[in-house]
Each structure stands twice: as structure tokens, then as C-alpha cells.
């Protein structure tokens, strides 16, 4: 079973690995300690102290904050309880006219706003773009991922989840 040093994992996270090194990692068996190593690297990088329980997405983490488990952005913005959809605390741009869509796409090469709108969800702390949804008008905002933290720590990582 392979294991990788901290620099290799950090370079992987940063997209700096050469293809030959990346290919080896893809082709090999998975390193069982990856989760712990990735979390340790990310914990060192974030400008706050709360313990990362799970990297949720780019810029977003589930962290332990006191007795609560919340979604927290890299910039420090807090979205609240991880069991609620973080998008409900985000800032939103809706591209639902040809003019707004044509800021990004050429005419002829984007959706018809009657059929589908483009929703951009931004971090209120730093305005990093976190997610782009393309759904028909009126479609409920998607709750992308609700992790089973208890099950993950208890039955897969085999270690205790900090008490809430």
C-alpha cells in the first residue's frame, strides 16, 4: 500500500504534480492515510483555528466550532449548521437573460432562459464562486452533499468525532 510525503500531497492539492507523478498516484492503490494528511495540510493553511472535520468543497469545510458543526469558508465566513444547505447563506447571481448569459458565453452558445437559468453561488466573505447550477426556473436549489459525519468517523475512519 503506498503512502506519500506531505510535499507530494500538498503539490497534488495545488495541482502542481507533473503528469507522470499524478498518473502513478491514479494508477496505484490508494494510500489509506490520505484523508488525515490532506486535512492536516489544509488545517495548516486556513487562517482560523476551528478543527476541520471534512473538506466539503473548494473553499468550504465542515468544522467543529464549540459544540456546533458548521460549514466554514477558507476566508472565515461561516455558513451555519452543516446539515442545512450552505447555499441558503450565500450570495447569488442569476443569469436569466441573454444579456447576462452573453457576458460569459457567445450568442447561440448558451441556454434559453425560458428553459433554464444559470445560478452562481458566491461566498459572502470573499466572493469566491462556489457553485454554478443550471436548472429550469423555479427548480429548488440543489443540496449537493449532506455528509454522514458520524458514520464516516465511527465506521470508516474508526476514530471518535469530537463531541457536539
Amino acid at each position: 500500500m503506498p503512502t506519500y510525503d506531505k510535499k507530494t500531497i500538498a503539490d497534488l492539492i495545488d495541482g502542481k504534480l507533473e503528469w507522470s507523478a499524478l498518473k502513478r498516484i491514479i494508477s496505484d492503490h490508494k494510500d489509506a492515510d490520505r484523508f488525515d494528511k490532506v486535512v492536516a495540510i489544509l488545517q495548516e493553511r486556513v487562517p482560523w483555528k476551528e478543527k476541520i472535520l471534512l473538506p466539503l468543497a473548494e473553499h468550504l469545510y465542515v468544522v467543529q466550532k464549540g459544540k456546533e458543526r458548521i460549514v466554514k469558508a477558507e476566508c472565515g465566513y461561516e455558513f451555519g449548521d452543516y446539515r442545512q444547505n450552505w447555499k441558503h447563506k450565500s450570495k447569488v447571481v442569476v443569469r436569466n437573460t441573454p444579456e447576462l448569459l452573453e457576458e460569459m458565453y457567445r450568442h447561440w452558445e448558451h441556454s434559453d432562459p425560458g428553459w433554464q437559468e444559470m445560478r452562481e453561488f458566491y461566498c459572502p466573505g470573499c466572493y469566491t464562486l462556489l457553485e454554478v447550477e443550471v436548472l429550469p426556473p423555479g427548480y429548488p436549489v440543489n443540496f449537493d452533499f449532506l455528509p454522514d459525519l458520524e458514520g464516516f468517523y465511527r465506521e470508516i475512519l474508526k476514530k471518535p468525532l469530537p463531541e457536539s
Binding site: I9, L12, G15, L17, I26, H29, K30, A32, R34, K37, V38, L54, P55, A57, E58, H59, H88, S90, K91, V92, V93, V94, E103, M104, Y105, R106, H107, W108, E109, H110, S111, D112, G114, W115, Q116, M118, Y127, T128, L129, L130, E131, V132, E133, V134, L135, P136, P137, G138, P140, V141, N142, F143, D144, F145, L146, P147, D148, G151, F152, E155
Partner: protein
């Protein structure tokens, strides 16, 4: 005492198993196997890998020999075929099955059909084929009925039983993709059918030969039922030769290893495949609930444009993918809330959905395990009966099932990728994949009366989505066949005689934006030449809607559109040796219009039902790229520089979307990026985001009003209506989300 009882039970079970193996009919064996799985949770009740643990090297050697026999059969068989789809692109696959029809191992190729053939074999067993028409050594069976086991009519499967000492020990089977399936319109994925009766020549799990010879009557009927009889006939022979080669190989292995070992081995290898699949889920994903809805637009070019299409209702189909991953490794895939099946060709049978689920999981999660029906058994699924993903209408058409299937399963890729990301395995993340559509289809006659088909299979090389650590793969992926290949134009032209290419090239500014960009679209430009008549059509999903989106801030790639130039003056331009177009480029500044004269037409809708072309008419086709990953403003400027060099993006686009300011140094032939100006431009874009973005609550109220007022176009309203009618659960959640009254309906 306890030991004695256990031993007695074990002995009785062994005795029973021995008797069962020899005397059970295939149907009894199938029921026995399914009962054992239900009771024990293990395939064939196998709890311990006796053969593997006693001699692991022998176990691996036998697996290697079987796999070698299958890959060898495929390599030999494709040289019998004459169709470029099979011979050059490799659209064929072989697999080996247990006596009950569970896949054991497979060759390379179009592996999506490995599970669908399993359903075809089980259909024959469940319908007492051993009694009538009989299952004997030398028999040949064939199927292309998607409702039984397949995706659409042009995928033809052949299955041959394997007997040893009079006992059925398995099945060898193969599949090829035909350029024409005898549908109401020429082509392999016809867009016109509205019922099964227009899908073409359907072979319903038929016995087509005995004593290793195809029935003359079947052969004569088949070659008269397709527009490409030579390809049909030779592909049939290719499949049969492959099956016979596998049968030969399996019998040899049984003679070397003994039938008892072989029959034990095939059970253990499937259970091992199941257990590896469960282990991979636990190893690489995070338990929880994942959701990724996609919508499938069906919007044909309007009749007003002068094409020969029938009036159609616009349709938007809902594909709300949900995946539940449990801590014990169980994965449950659901499409609760999916739209109804329709009188259109985009319905997808349950077996096709199961096959697609299997093929994607085999590529994303189980690829280093035993790729067999064990991994299928490890996953639970729900395709709502009556939906477009499991029609209950016996007359449903499936001829273009891929149109729904591919858009739907982009959701699976996004769900799994979130799991990989959270688990730290960022190298496995893929935002999605391009839909393999917009190949040219149809057929025509040369001036001398020779018929030629249009069935280009360059769709086998579209884009793979961006990952969390790298860009997407340009023109190099097809979700149903991991061995991507677009084929040489010259080879396609040898088949499609009256419709040569003017060019095939990258379409700039189409790749999905992101910190890591998606794959770029690419385009074809073809001209009708030397024809007496030519019927052609193209159908790319999208046009009015993106069929999938990016991940974690990534955007979708450009949508499709349809363009053509009729009555072009290409012949004069060639005569005068002037530049001619090799692509369209920017549709708002079309190269077609700049270099040629003629009746140019362009339409937002990406699908056509077909039209007649004359010499000099030019048709443009646009192949999918894929979606991006991450915020585009975080894209490394060195990567953007490379995008400019490779002409993936224009300088205008990289400034507008990526906030990168660059200029071309003609002297040194290099793009120079102005870092200070780029930083300033990116800050400007962030300022626009700050000033424009609204609070979620404001956005929510806007959407709620749209729903309450039903201020929606008909296809969208119909989509909600159908999902709510077909799934009370989905309806309940929808109403709860917006706080709507219990009696709310569209």
C-alpha cells in the same frame, strides 16, 4: 456435538449443491442463485473464498486466461467486420457469463453492454427457452430489443451457450454497434421514432441458428431489414466468431482445471467483484446523501426553417439523481422524481440504465477490482416505473436512448466526485463528461445510384470534464467505451461516399470555464458532393439548455446550435482556388459566411429530424467538450497562457471570464501576460460580483413567485407536473421547499 451438527449441515449443503449443479435446469439455477443472494447477502451464498485462498496464484492464472480469451476474441473478431464503427473505432465487446447469465469477465471495448446482455440471457432463461426453442450446444441467440436487454436497436447482441460434458456451464456473448438498424429513418440513433414500431428491425431474444450455423431464413430476413446489409452480415459473423473463440477457450480452461474448479471459480470471482466494489465505496467515498439533478431538453429545429420535420412538442425531462452512500459500503442510486416516458425516441429501458450505472461505476470506482456482475450486485438502484428511465409502456421507443441516459448520468459523476474530493482523493475528481452526440446520420445515393449510409462515429471522442487537479481531456472520452477514438476522416469518407469533410477542428471559446477548464468542443464541416439525393440529420442534446454543469464553481461548456449553408458556391471557390472554410468558428462571425455565399441558416435548437441536401449544401456539426472545475478567477495564468497558445480560448474571452490580460508578441511568437493588469482585471470582476450578487433570501422569493404564478414556459411546467404526478415524494419535497399549500399543482 455442536461441531458434528455443523459438519452434518455442511455435508448436506455440499451434497445438495452437487446435485443442484448437475440436475437443475437453467431456470432453477437462476432462482436458486437469486434466493441464495437474498438469504445470505452473498453471491451464490459464498462467504469464504475457498479456491482463491487455497491457491491464489492458480485463481489469478485462471482469471488471466479467461480475460485473455475474451480480449483475444475481440481482437480477432473485429478484423472480420467491415464497418468502420466496429473495425476502426472498436465498437464491439465480448463477455463471459455463468449458466444463469451473470457476467464473469469481459473484453475491452463498448463495455456498457456487458450487463445488458446479462439481462438478455436471463430473459431467455426466465421464459423457459430450455423447453422451447431449446438451449443446446451449437445454438445461437440474438437480441437487440432494448426492453429486454440493450440500449437501442442498433446494438446487436449474440449469445452462445457453452456446454461441457452435456452440462450448461456458461454463455459467451458479444455485441456490435450497427450503422443502420432498419428504422423509419436511416442511421444508428434515429431521432424521429415515437414508438417501438418505428425503431427498426427488432430481434426479440431469438434463436437464430443451430449447430454453429446461422439459419438461412434469419440471415435473409436480416440483410433485407437494414440499409447496410454487408455491414450487418459481417458484424454478425464477427460476433459469432468471437463467441466461438471464447467457447473454445473456456472449454480448454475447463479441461485444464477441471469443471468442479471452474464452476466454483466463476462463483467466487463474482462474489469477489461484489466485495471489492463495497470496499471501494468505503475506501474512496464519504457516507452521506449526494444530489445532482440534470434536465434533458428535447427541442427540434422548427418546421419554419424549411426542413422536412414533423411538428413536435417541446419537452424538458427531469433527471434528479440522488445517491445514498452508507458507512458499510452500500451505494443506492435513485431517480425518484424523474419525468414520464414520452412518445419520443429518448426513453431508456431499465436494463440500459442498469448497464450505464455499471459501466460508469466500473470506470470511476471499481476499475481495479473484478469488473463483472459482482459490482452490479453491490449497488442498489431505483428507476421509477413509468418514467423515461424505466418505461412501462410496451410500445415505447428507445432508438435514441443515449440522449436521456448520458445527461442523467453526468449527475452520478458529480456525486461521486464530491465524495472523492472530501475523502482527499482529488486525483479522481471529474466534473462530468461530454454527451456523445451530433454525429452525422442519414443516407444517400451517389449519382450512379450507389447507396451510402451516414453513420459517423466520431462521437466516440468527446470531452472528459475537468478534475480537481487538472484540466479536462480534450476530444478523448466516451462514457460508454473507455477506449475513445474519433477515427480518421479518410476512413469515414470511404463509407460515407457523398458527404466529404471540409474540415474537423477545435472550436475556440467553448470549453467549460473553471480553475481547471473543461474539454473544448470541436467541429465538423461537411459538404454534399456527387449525390443524386442525400438525407442527413444531426442531434445534439442541449441547444436550449446545458445538459450538465461544472463542479465547485466550474461552468458548463457551450451549448449546441444548428447551422448550415444551402446552395453554397463552394464549387466556384474551389475552381478559383480561393480559401474555403474548414469550420465555422464563432457563429456570430461565421467562417462559412465570410468565405462562401449561399443560404446560411442558424438555429438555437441543436436537434433536427432530418432534411434533404443537394450538392454544394454544407452542414456544420459541433461535438461536445465538457464542464469546468472551480472558480475561473483562480485559474493559474500560465494555464491561461497555454489556452491562448493552443487556441482553446480567444484573448477577449480570457479577459472577460478569467480576468487575464494578454497580448501576442509577433516577433517572438508568444503570448505575454500582463500580471499587474490581470490582477486589476480580476479585482474588477470581483467588484462586479459584489455589486450584483443578491442575498439568497431575495433570490428564493424571486423563484417562489415564479412557481406560485406558474410563470414558466410549457415544457418546464409539464416537467414539474409530471415529476409531481409520478412521485408523491418529490412533490412533497417541492411543496415543502417553497412552503406551498398541500393542494398546489402545475
Amino acid at each position: 456435538m455442536e461441531k458434528a451438527v455443523t459438519e452434518k449441515k455442511a455435508s448436506k449443503k455440499k451434497q445438495l449443491a452437487a446435485v443442484d449443479e448437475e440436475k437443475m435446469t437453467p431456470k432453477e439455477k437462476l432462482n436458486y442463485s437469486e434466493d441464495l443472494f437474498k438469504k445470505t447477502g452473498h453471491y451464490y451464498g459464498i462467504r469464504r473464498f475457498k479456491l482463491r485462498d487455497e491457491d491464489p496464484l492458480r485463481f489469478e492464472r485462471v482469471f488471466g486466461k479467461l480475460r485473455g480469451a475474451l480480449v483475444g476474441a475481440r481482437e480477432s473478431a473485429l478484423h472480420i467486420s467491415a464497418s468502420p464503427i466496429v473495425r476502426n473505432i472498436g465498437e464491439l465487446c465480448f463477455a463471459l457469463y455463468t449458466p444463469e447469465g451473470d457476467s464473469i469477465t469481459l473484453s475491452t471495448g463498448i463495455i456498457v453492454h456487458v450487463h445488458t446482455i446479462s439481462e438478455f440471457i436471463k430473459y431467455m432463461i426466465r421464459n423457459d427457452y430450455e423447453d422451447d426453442p431449446g438451449i443446446r450446444h451449437g445454438d445461437i441467440f440474438c437480441n437487440n430489443d432494448a426492453a429486454i436487454g440493450g440500449v437501442h436497436t442498433s446494438d446487436i447482441s449474440t449469445a452462445v451457450p457453452i456446454f461441457y460434458n452435456g452440462q450448461l456451464v456458461g454463455w459467451a456473448a458479444g455485441v456490435t454497434h450497427e450503422p443502420d438498424c432498419g428504422s423509419s429513418m436511416p442511421g444508428h440513433s434515429p431521432t424521429q421514432p415515437q414508438s417501438r414500431f418505428e425503431d427498426g428491425y427488432i430481434i426479440v431474444a431469438d434463436k437464430i441458428g443451430e449447430n454453429d450455423k446461422i439459419f438461412k431464413t434469419y440471415r435473409m430476413r436480416s440483410v433485407k431489414s437494414t440499409r447496410t446489409p454487408m455491414y450487418w452480415d459481417l458484424d454478425e459473423k464477427a460476433r459469432l466468431a468471437g463467441c466461438h473463440k471464447i467457447r473454445e477457450g473456456v472449454v480448454k480452461i475447463i479441461e485444464e482445471e477441471g469443471s468442479e474448479y471452474y464452476l466454483g471459480f466463476i462463483r467466487e470471482i463474482i462474489e469477489e467483484g461484489r466485495q471489492i466494489a463495497l470496499a471501494r465505496v468505503k475506501e474512496r467515498l464519504v457516507p452521506g446523501r449526494y444530489r445532482a439533478p440534470s434536465v434533458i431538453p428535447v427541442a427540434f429545429v422548427e418546421v419554419a426553417l424549411g426542413r422536412t420535420e414533423r411538428p413536435r412538442q417541446d419537452i424538458l425531462a427531469n433527471a434528479p439523481v440522488e445517491i445514498i452512500v452508507r458507512p458499510d459500503g452500500e451505494l443506492f442510486f435513485s431517480l425518484e422524481g424523474a419525468s414520464r416516458s414520452q412518445p419520443f425516441p429518448y426513453n431508456c429501458s431499465e436494463t440500459a440504465m442498469q448497464g450505464a450505472l455499471w459501466v460508469l461505476l466500473s470506470q470511476l470506482l471499481f476499475y481495479d477490482g473484478r469488473v463483472n456482475d459482482g459490482s452490479y450486485l453491490a449497488v442498489k438502484n431505483y428507476f421509477p416505473p413509468g418514467s423515461g428511465f424505466n418505461p412501462t409502456d410496451p410500445f415505447a421507443s428507445y432508438s435514441c436512448a443515449w440522449g436521456s441516459l448520458m445527461a442523467c448520468f453526468t449527475g452520478l459523476v458529480r456525486c461521486l466526485s464530491r465524495g472523492f474530493y472530501s475523502r482527499g482523493y482529488r486525483e479522481e475528481v471529474v466534473s462530468s463528461y461530454g454527451e456523445t452526440s451530433d454525429s452525422t446520420q442519414g443516407g444517400g445515393y451517389l449519382e450512379d445510384g450507389t447507396y451510402f449510409p451516414l453513420a459517423t462515429f466520431d462521437i466516440s471522442a468527446v470531452g472528459m470534464g475537468a478534475g480537481a487537479v487538472r484540466d479536462g481531456l480534450d476530444y478523448g472520452y466516451a462514457m460508454w467505451n473507455p477506449e475513445s477514438d474519433m477515427g480518421d476522416i479518410e476512413v469515414w469518407e470511404s463509407l460515407e461516399l457523398g458527404f466529404p469533410w471540409l474540415g474537423r477542428r477545435v472550436k475556440r471559446d467553448t470549453a467549460g470555464f473553471g480553475k481547471y477548464r473543461g474539454a473544448t468542443d470541436w467541429e465538423n464541416l461537411r459538404v454534399a458532393h456527387g449525390v443524386k439525393s442525400l438525407f442527413a440529420y444531426m442531434a445534439r442534446g442541449g441547444g436550449v439548455a446545458f445538459i450538465c454543469t461544472g463542479l465547485m464553481g466550474g461552468y458548463p461548456n457551450a451549448t449546441s446550435y444548428r447551422s448550415a449553408m444551402l446552395k453554397s458556391n463552394l464549387a466556384d471557390v474551389v475552381q478559383e482556388k480561393k480559401p474555403y472554410p474548414t469550420g465555422e468558428g464563432d457563429p456570430n462571425d461565421s467562417e462559412l459566411k465570410k468565405l462562401l455565399q449561399g443560404d446560411y441558416m442558424i438555429h438555437k435548437r441543436g436537434a433536427t429530424l432530418g432534411g434533404n441536401l443537394n450538392n454544394g449544401d454544407i452542414l456544420h456539426g459541433n461535438m461536445n467538450g465538457s464542464c469546468g472545475f472551480g472558480d475561473p478567477l483562480l485559474r493559474d495564468i500560465e494555464l491561461v497562457k497555454k489556452d491562448l497558445e493552443d487556441e482553446i480560448y480567444s484573448p477577449e474571452l480570457v479577459r472577460r471570464v478569467y480576468g487575464v490580460v494578454g497580448s501576442y508578441d509577433k516577433k517572438n511568437q508568444e503570448w505575454l501576460i500582463d500580471k499587474a493588469a490581470t490582477e486589476s482585471e480580476r479585482e474588477k470582476i470581483r467588484d462586479i460580483r459584489r455589486s450584483r450578487a443578491i442575498d439568497f433570501n431575495e433570490f428564493f422569493e424571486m423563484e417562489r413567485q415564479i412557481v406560485i404564478e406558474k410563470n414558466l414556459i410549457e415544457p418546464v411546467k409539464n416537467m414539474y407536473r409530471e415529476s409531481m404526478e409520478l412521485s408523491p415524494k418529490w412533490a412533497e419535497e417541492f411543496k415543502e421547499y417553497y412552503g406551498l399549500p398541500a393542494d398546489f399543482q402545475f
